[in-house]
Every structure is written in structure tokens, then in C-alpha cells.
């Protein structure tokens, strides 16, 4: 009894001392570096005692990525560390939603990592706009990025004319369908929206869900909405809508929403799809089929779930515009603007290494859709190369990255409302415009 008691007290006193000790130790530490390394991610205590970052011999950089890419990035980074023995990379990996939140918290507490994965558009621009991400425009010029990376990818990595991202993936979305479905019904790749709709009707009559969409989170349905807007509005007006320069009450928006409603009423979407998880909707694509709007990652998704991507056809959504633009977005790496120059240099080196043609070609089976001009094609992801070529014919930035998040969520909300008969397409369009006006009035 007495022994456990003393033991417990010791544990408690020890832990209290630990906290106090840590406080003392690091407040002096902080003072000596004069807060210049606020962006550096503090490692655990041992790291800090063992290495002195100020001598410049050993550079430790912190790296934040997401689970999906870490599978292959871990071995790429190991290669990198071997080639650059003085650089150590501390990896953190997050769930897709978690990284967005963790980055915001880190930004607000001035504790961003030295280099982090991000999506382009409004996700990245928060960090660019607020001076948290390093301006890479000069680096890009010095290192001839325009000879390495796909121009579309560089364009999508810009904010306010300056480059703030090392392009990693260029994702573009097109229509996928099972080949055997086409053989079964004797169908051909559609060139007009009307043909696509004919196919849907045929599939529906034969008990196949034509459009397996999961509406939870809004973004999977949005892929159809934005292509319908592109179809009715044409490229110029669509770009103006996304730039908030044209009113969303435009007839093109109303028509697009009306069409969605028509498809829903005809039963083209799965029953109860509004709150279905997108991943559940994708299961339809593994078994019975139908049309799905998916990105360059879809080959990867299929093969990782044990299905052969060669059994699927890909084509651009027939929006009847010239050129037919695909919806695209870029994924890339941002560098901490507050890190020390040595760390920034090491981080840029790492990002360029990860995205270099040699590395990409070595890991092409898992890599997804690189943001490069030239890369090898592979059996495992047969559509990636084709989609990249098609995307360079023309693309627009995907809606949920083109619009401010408040407007995006309003668009999702009113799309649901139209489908559930709570709003007419005209009322829905007016609601979006209201959200746009409110966003604009907020300085």
C-alpha cells in the first residue's frame, strides 16, 4: 500500500516537474533564436538536444502530406535523404479533411511546417494571399519550370500572377463507363449531351443506375453541375461566373439546375443519393456500371480495389463547346515563407525532387497524374496519359476551388434544395447570387 502510494506521488511530481522543466528549457531556446524559426516545427525534446540547426550542417525540414500519397512518397523521400545526407525530412501524414483543418490551426498559431501538400485554387490561395506561403516565381524562372511542368499546372498554381506552389498532380475530370455496358447495349462514345442522355435512358430502362453519384459533401454532384453550366453558358460566361463577375441568376445556371432536377426525377441517380457517401456511389461503378465523372486518379482507385481499369472507357463530357474543356485542379507543395532560407532551399529541393521526371517515371504505377509535360505511361493507369493530353486542349478550374468556400457550400445547399423540390431552379440561382453579394460586401 505504502509503496504504491509513494510510486503514485512520484509519478505525479515527476510529470509536473517535466512540464515546468520544459517551459524553462525552451523559453531560453526561443529567446536565443529570436523567434526567427517560428515556422519550424518543433521536434521532440531529443531532436532539439541532439542537433543544432544553426550550424547549417544538418537541416531538418518538416513535411505534411496526406495518407493517399504517403504510400509512395515515403520511399521517394527516403531516396531523397540518401542523395542529400545533410537533409532530414520529418514526415506527418493526415486524412484528407484533417490536413485542411490542421493547416489552418498551424497557420493561426504560426506553426506551419516547412513544406506542405495542398490543393490549388481557394485552398492554396489562403496561404498565398496571407503571406504564409513562399513566392516561387523566381525559382520557377531560374529552374526552367516551364520546360518541366505542364503549363496548365503552372497556371493553376498561381495566385495574383505569382507562383506559390510546386505542381505535383494535375487532375482532370472526365466521364468513365464500363466497356461491357457499351457492348451490351451497342453504344458509341457520345458527342452531344442529347446522345449522353439517350444512353442514360437506355441504361435506366435496363435497370442500371445511369449516374451513380453520392451527394454527401456536395462535390460529386457538383462535377455534373459544372459541366452542365459549361454546356449552357459556354467558356467565357462560365469563367466570369467563377470569377464572380457575372450574375449567377443567369439563364445558363437555371438551365443547368433544371437539367439536374430532370435527371433526378427520372431516377437516373441512385435512390437517396443526396446523403450517400461518394465512395458508396463508386461501388456501383465496380459492379453494374453507369456513367461517372472522375479524375485522373480513378485508374488508381479501381486497381487498388482489385478492378482492372482497362475494362473502362474514358471520354470528355460532351459539353458541345469548342474546345471541350475538362474540369481540372492542381495539387502541389507550398513552402513556408517564414522558414529559414536554408530550410526553404531544402524544401524546394525536396519538392522538385518528388515531382522530377526521373522519380515520376520510376513510381508511375502509383503516382497518379503527374503535373509534368512528359512522363511514361503504364498499364496500371492506362487513362492517365490520355487524360493529360485531353486536358491540355482546354480546361477550367474545378468549381469548389474556383469559388470562395461560402459560395461553394451555398451552391451545394441549393442544388440539394432543387432536387428535393424545396426551391425552384430560379430561386436557387437567386440564392447563390445572394451568397456572392454577401461575400463581396465582406472586405
Amino acid at each position: 500500500m505504502r509503496k504504491t502510494r509513494i510510486g503514485l506521488m512520484l509519478v505525479m511530481i515527476f510529470s509536473l516537474l517535466l512540464f515546468v522543466a520544459c517551459g524553462n528549457n525552451t523559453s531560453s531556446d526561443q529567446a536565443s533564436t529570436n523567434g526567427s524559426s517560428t515556422g519550424a516545427h518543433p521536434g521532440d525534446l531529443n531532436d532539439n538536444q541532439g542537433q543544432n540547426t544553426q550550424t547549417g550542417e544538418e537541416i531538418i525540414i518538416s513535411f505534411w502530406g496526406i495518407d493517399g500519397i504517403m504510400m509512395y512518397l515515403e520511399s521517394i523521400i527516403k531516396d531523397f535523404e540518401q542523395e542529400n545526407p545533410h537533409i532530414t525530412v520529418e514526415i506527418s501524414s493526415f486524412n484528407t479533411d484533417s490536413i485542411k483543418e490542421s493547416l489552418k490551426v498551424a497557420a493561426a498559431s504560426r506553426a506551419l511546417p516547412d513544406i506542405w501538400f495542398n490543393w490549388g485554387g481557394s485552398f492554396a490561395s489562403f496561404y498565398s494571399e496571407n503571406g504564409l506561403a513562399l513566392d516561387l516565381t523566381e525559382v520557377a524562372a531560374e529552374h526552367n519550370w516551364n520546360e518541366i511542368y505542364n503549363p496548365a499546372a503552372i497556371e493553376l498554381s498561381k495566385f495574383d500572377g505569382k507562383i506559390y506552389m510546386v505542381p505535383f498532380h494535375l487532375a482532370s475530370l472526365g466521364v468513365f463507363v464500363k466497356k461491357d455496358l457499351y457492348e451490351q447495349f451497342g453504344l458509341q462514345e457520345p458527342t452531344t449531351l442529347a446522345e449522353l442522355e439517350e444512353h442514360m435512358a437506355i441504361m435506366h430502362e435496363n435497370g442500371i443506375t445511369p449516374l451513380p453519384v453520392g451527394g454527401k459533401g456536395g462535390w460529386m454532384l457538383m462535377r455534373w453541375t459544372e459541366q452542365l453550366i459549361e454546356h449552357y453558358a459556354g467558356p467565357d460566361l462560365h469563367d466570369q461566373l467563377n470569377a464572380l463577375d457575372a450574375p449567377w441568376t443567369d439563364q445558363a445556371v437555371v438551365k443547368a439546375l433544371t437539367k439536374l432536377k430532370e435527371w433526378s426525377d427520372k431516377g437516373y441517380f441512385p435512390k437517396g443519393f443526396i446523403t450517400m457517401a461518394p465512395e458508396e456511389a463508386e461501388m456501383y461503378m465496380y459492379s453494374e456500371g453507369g456513367y461517372t465523372l472522375q479524375g485522373t486518379w480513378f485508374d488508381q482507385t479501381l486497381s487498388s480495389n482489385g478492378f482492372d481499369p482497362n475494362n473502362y472507357l474514358f471520354f470528355k463530357f460532351p459539353n458541345e463547346q469548342g474546345p471541350v474543356r475538362m474540369s481540372s485542379f492542381v495539387e502541389g507543395f507550398q513552402i513556408n515563407a517564414d522558414s529559414t532560407p536554408e530550410k526553404q532551399e531544402a524544401a524546394i529541393k525536396l519538392a522538385e525532387y518528388i515531382t522530377s521526371p526521373e522519380v515520376v517515371n520510376k513510381y508511375i504505377n502509383e503516382y497518379g497524374a503527374p503535373a509534368l509535360i512528359n512522363f511514361a505511361s503504364t498499364e496500371a493507369t492506362p487513362h492517365v496519359k490520355l487524360m493529360a493530353e485531353k486536358a491540355s486542349e482546354g480546361n477550367f478550374l474545378i468549381t469548389d476551388q474556383a469559388l470562395p468556400q461560402e459560395v461553394v457550400d451555398k451552391l451545394f445547399e441549393v442544388t440539394d434544395a432543387v432536387i428535393l423540390n424545396a426551391l425552384t431552379p430560379e430561386q436557387a440561382a437567386a440564392e447563390i447570387q445572394k451568397a456572392v453579394d454577401q461575400y463581396k460586401s465582406n472586405p
Binding site: 485542411k100 489552418k104 497557420a107 443526396i274
Partner: protein, 292 residues
């Protein structure tokens, strides 16, 4: 000696109080301050708006109002159905039944699953074509009722609530069981001699003796209901049409998606404030009576 008696409680309290102040009090006050500002969390320009964020939420933000309403529905549901069921299970399983340990474990185990897991499991139960509930309802001839419960704004919240009851009933049950176990046998024996009916013994012996347990159960259930988040977010994502947003999820949106830290903080403080006016008077009332 006097001095020692005065200092002693503080010494015992110190570790808890120190950690509590550092982890909860200081950060909360920080967020209280932020709730009076219009700020995106990083930019140098931080505008003082007084109560502006609070007023904006109440008067202009429709989703906030839906969220508030949903939280109140959830609160009422939890206080009646969840606690009622928990107490009923505890009363039944407190009897000398064969296999009661088994039944206790069965009713408790969903509570060990995290909200995200429960969300997946129950979305699949409700799945309009592949789910068991749909299948079962059709099997017993009620096709009319086999609707996609989660996709209808009128039913979505209640459908999620059923899942939450399945998950959560184990907590009040375990707490009530612990409380029931601590009630001595003597009052019951006396009641039997006096010829009291079962309901009377429950009303006049069991309930009063469970007072301390009720404080714990009420407080945790209310707070749980006000802070509910992951199960709803996992099952409906706040949809359809934002009809299942709750305060916690809307705070998350405002803070981390739209970068309105001030508005997000104001939602937090509405939440704290509502909990305060519901729980604190109750606890004060109870703790005054329960002093020996």
C-alpha cells in the same frame, strides 16, 4: 494549524486546477476575446466588431438558426429517450437475472465505437437499396415506409438520432447501474413490509437515492447533446440542404472552411452560454441538497 487547514485544500487541488487553467480556461478566454473581432486567423488586420458576430448569427445566419434548433431537438430527445432508456435498461439489468452480465455488455458495447464508425455502420443500415432496414421494412410489407430516411430533410435528423441512441444508451445505463448498486437493501426491505407498490418504491426510494447519479447523467447528456458532431457529420455531412447542421459543425465550417474565426468563436460561446443556463442552476440546486 489554522493556516495549514486553509492551504491544504489548495495543495490537493493544485495539479487539477493548474492543468485545467492551462488547457481549458486560458484558451476559452482567448476565444472569447476573438469572438468580438472580425478576423481570418492570420492576417494582421483584425477588426473589433463588439457584439457584431453574435448579432449577425442570430439575425442573418439561417444555417446557425437551423443548427440551434437541431441542437435543441437533440437535447430534448437525449434528455427523454436516451436517459429514459438508459434508466430502464439499468433497472431491468439490476435484477437477479441469468445472463445479465451478457446483456449489460451487449447494450454497452456500441458505446466503445467511435462516432465515425457508427456513422458508417448506420449509413449502411439505412442505405436505400443495400441496407438492412430498407430490406426489413419491405419484407414486413411496409414498402411505403422504405424511403431514404437520411436524404429527406424532414426525417434525416431523427434517423441519425436513432443511431445515436443505439450508440449512446450504454453510458447512462452503466452510470445508473453503478448508482443502483450503491443503494443499500434496507429501505427496500422496509418498503416491502409496509406493502408499498413497485412504482412507489421506485418513486420514493430509488429515484431520490440516485440523485448524485442523476447529476452526472444529466450533465454529461446535456453537454453531449449540445456538442454532438461526428455522428451527424459522418452520416449526412450536415445535409441535405444543411438541414442537419448543428452548432459544432457550423462552428467548424465558419472557423476552418470560411476562415471567420470571430464568428466561429461566437458560436462556441453561444454553446457554452446555453449549457451554462441549462446545467448550472440544476447542479447548484442539487449540490445544495446533497451536502450532508
Amino acid at each position: 494549524m489554522r493556516l495549514k487547514a486553509k492551504i491544504l485544500p489548495w495543495l490537493f487541488l493544485f495539479p487539477a486546477l493548474f492543468i485545467y487553467l492551462m488547457v481549458i480556461v486560458v484558451p476559452s478566454l482567448y476565444s472569447l476575446v476573438l469572438s468580438f473581432f472580425d478576423w481570418n486567423g492570420v492576417s494582421p488586420d483584425k477588426k473589433f466588431v463588439g457584439l457584431g458576430n453574435y448579432i449577425y448569427l442570430l439575425t442573418e445566419d439561417n444555417v446557425f438558426q437551423t443548427a440551434l434548433k437541431n441542437n435543441l431537438i437533440w437535447l430534448v430527445g437525449s434528455m427523454t429517450i436516451l436517459i429514459g432508456l438508459g434508466l430502464a435498461f439499468a433497472l431491468i439489468l439490476n435484477r437477479q437475472l441469468k445472463g445479465r452480465v451478457f446483456f449489460r455488455s451487449v447494450f454497452y458495447y456500441p458505446y466503445v465505437l467511435s462516432g465515425i464508425v457508427v456513422a458508417i455502420v448506420w449509413s449502411w443500415m439505412y442505405h436505400p437499396t443495400k441496407g438492412f432496414i430498407t430490406f426489413f421494412i419491405e419484407k414486413i410489407g411496409l414498402e411505403k415506409w422504405a424511403t431514404p430516411w437520411l436524404s429527406d430533410p424532414k426525417t434525416a435528423l431523427y434517423a441519425v438520432f436513432i443511431a445515436a441512441v443505439w450508440q449512446g444508451v450504454g453510458l447512462p445505463m452503466v452510470l445508473f447501474l453503478a448508482g443502483l448498486q450503491s443503494i443499500p437493501k434496507e429501505p427496500y426491505e422496509a418498503a416491502v413490509i409496509d406493502g408499498a407498490k413497485p412504482f412507489q418504491t421506485f418513486r420514493y426510494i430509488t429515484l431520490p437515492l440516485l440523485r448524485d447519479t442523476f447529476v452526472i447523467v444529466f450533465a454529461t447528456t446535456m453537454v453531449g447533446a449540445m456538442k454532438v458532431y461526428d455522428i451527424i457529420y459522418g452520416m449526412t455531412g450536415g445535409g441535405p440542404m444543411n438541414s442537419t447542421q448543428v452548432l459544432s459543425s457550423w462552428m467548424y465550417y465558419q472557423t476552418f472552411k470560411y476562415n471567420f474565426i470571430g464568428i466561429g468563436s461566437a458560436i462556441s460561446w453561444y454553446l457554452i452560454f446555453i449549457c451554462l443556463i441549462v446545467i448550472v442552476p440544476y447542479v447548484i440546486f442539487i449540490s445544495k441538497r446533497s451536502h450532508y
